[in-house]
């Protein structure tokens, strides 16, 4: 049971460090990334919440987390790209955000049940 706990702790620490780095460095976003960044961030957040949920369930899996993280980000970017190409970018982005938001909410609810037993 070493790995299931090590991964999440590293992940959460890295997240905090990343926030600090972002605040400190204030990087500029390359123009070609700009349209994808918001959706990608939401998708990655979904993966993180799923990971935390799995960790609390005691079944965190590093591979699942990495794959879901990367695939979430890629699919989100792809959807934005496709939506822009088809001229329904705004609607598709909204749909993605809604779906991811619902998933984040349900994961957060599961996390809440774990932490507060309520």
């Amino acid at each position: 049971m070493r790995t299931p706990l090590l991964g999440p702790v590293i992940g959460l620490l890295a997240l905090v460090v990343g926030v600090g780095l972002g605040l400190w460095l204030d990087p500029t976003v390359p123009p070609w990334v700009q349209p994808y960044l918001p959706i990608a961030v939401v998708a990655a957040l979904d993966a993180v919440f799923g990971g935390v949920h799995a960790m609390l369930d005691g079944r965190f899996d590093a591979k699942v987390f990495v794959v879901s993280f990367v695939s979430n980000v890629l699919v989100a970017a792809l959807i934005v790209l496709l939506g822009d190409a088809l001229g329904v970018g705004a609607q598709l982005s909204t749909a993605v955000v809604v779906v991811l938001g619902i998933r984040i909410f349900s994961n957060a609810a599961a996390i809440r049940r774990h932490l507060f037993k309520a």
Binding site: R2, T3, L6, G7, P8, I10, G11, L12, L13, A14, L15, V16, V17, G18, V19, G20, L21, G22, L23, L25, D26, P27, V29, P31, Q34, P35, L37, P38, A40, V41, A44, L45, A47, V48, G50, H53, A54, D57, R59, D61, A62, K63, V64, F65, V66, V67, S68, F69, V70, D84, G87, G89, A90, R103, S106, N107, A110
Partner: protein, 257 residues
């Protein structure tokens, strides 16, 4: 909750996880065999997420998200802004027009009111409905023999008027445009009010002119002295005429034009 649903709910543990069961059989291959590699990957991904999260939040707060919006959205946005601008400009124009109109009206109204007040004051003095003060003369006529007739007092009034008297009071009666001396010598009435000797006259006008008008040979002073009376004439810098005439409401005449 139905038993069926509850059973279903329990079966796949951790339904919020992305793929809980698919990789379970793969154990222990791939990343699971390399805890260090998996830790590094997780760390890098989460680090990137933290940076991206903060960066995007900052960009959103800075408001420079307009650059990446789609042209259609920008057109809609611009259209809305232009419509709003046009509406606001129209509102400004309307408000300014209203302002200038109200200002002009206010100016005209103020000027008209001032003119009306000036006119009311002048007419009030003329008709005897307001008190008046100014330079003039005080005249006292004694009549020990009771020989001063209404005509003498009328003469005196005519002389004063001819000399430019603007307001005249005889006894306690303000002289107006319809004043009349009636009665006989010794029992003179002005507008029906009995006058008692010595008669006092107050007149506002140029004092020397008024005095000269009464003093002309064969004039009022001469007449009174021939009747045995005496005229006391004093010029004053300030004569106050406080007697008032009631305001007349005209029954038939109406202003025209």
């Amino acid at each position: 909750m139905s038993p069926l649903f509850r059973a279903k709910r329990r079966a796949p543990r951790g339904r919020h996880h992305l793929d809980p069961n698919r990789f379970a059989e793969a154990r222990p291959t791939g990343l699971r065999a390399h805890p260090v590699l998996s830790g590094v990957l997780i760390g890098v991904l989460c680090l990137a997420l933290g940076v991206a999260l903060v960066t995007q939040a900052r960009r959103t707060r800075a408001g420079d998200t307009l650059a990446e919006q789609r042209p259609q959205d920008l057109v809609v946005l611009l259209d809305g802004l232009q419509q709003r601008e046009a509406a606001l400009r129209k509102e400004i124009a309307d408000s300014e027009e209203t302002l200038s109109r109200l200002r002009a009206t206010g100016d005209r109204a103020a000027a008209a009111r001032e003119e009306a007040q000036r006119r009311a004051a002048a007419l009030g003095v003329l008709s005897g409905t307001v008190p008046a003060a100014g330079p003039g003369v005080r005249i006292g006529l004694t009549d020990p023999a009771g020989k001063i007739s209404p005509e003498v007092l009328l003469d005196a009034l005519q002389e004063l008027r001819a000399a430019g008297a603007e307001a005249v009071q005889v006894g306690e009666v303000r002289v107006g445009v319809d004043s009349a001396f009636t009665g006989a010598a010794g029992d003179v009435r002005l507008d029906g009010v009995p006058l008692r000797a010595p008669y006092s006259l107050l007149a506002i006008g140029d004092p020397p002119t008024l005095a000269a008008a009464l003093n002309i040979p064969g004039g009022v002073v001469d007449t009174v002295e021939r009747s045995g009376g005496r005229v006391e004439l004093r010029q004053a810098d300030r004569v106050e005429i406080s007697a008032l005439r009631p305001v007349r409401t005209h029954k038939y005449a109406r202003p025209t034009g």
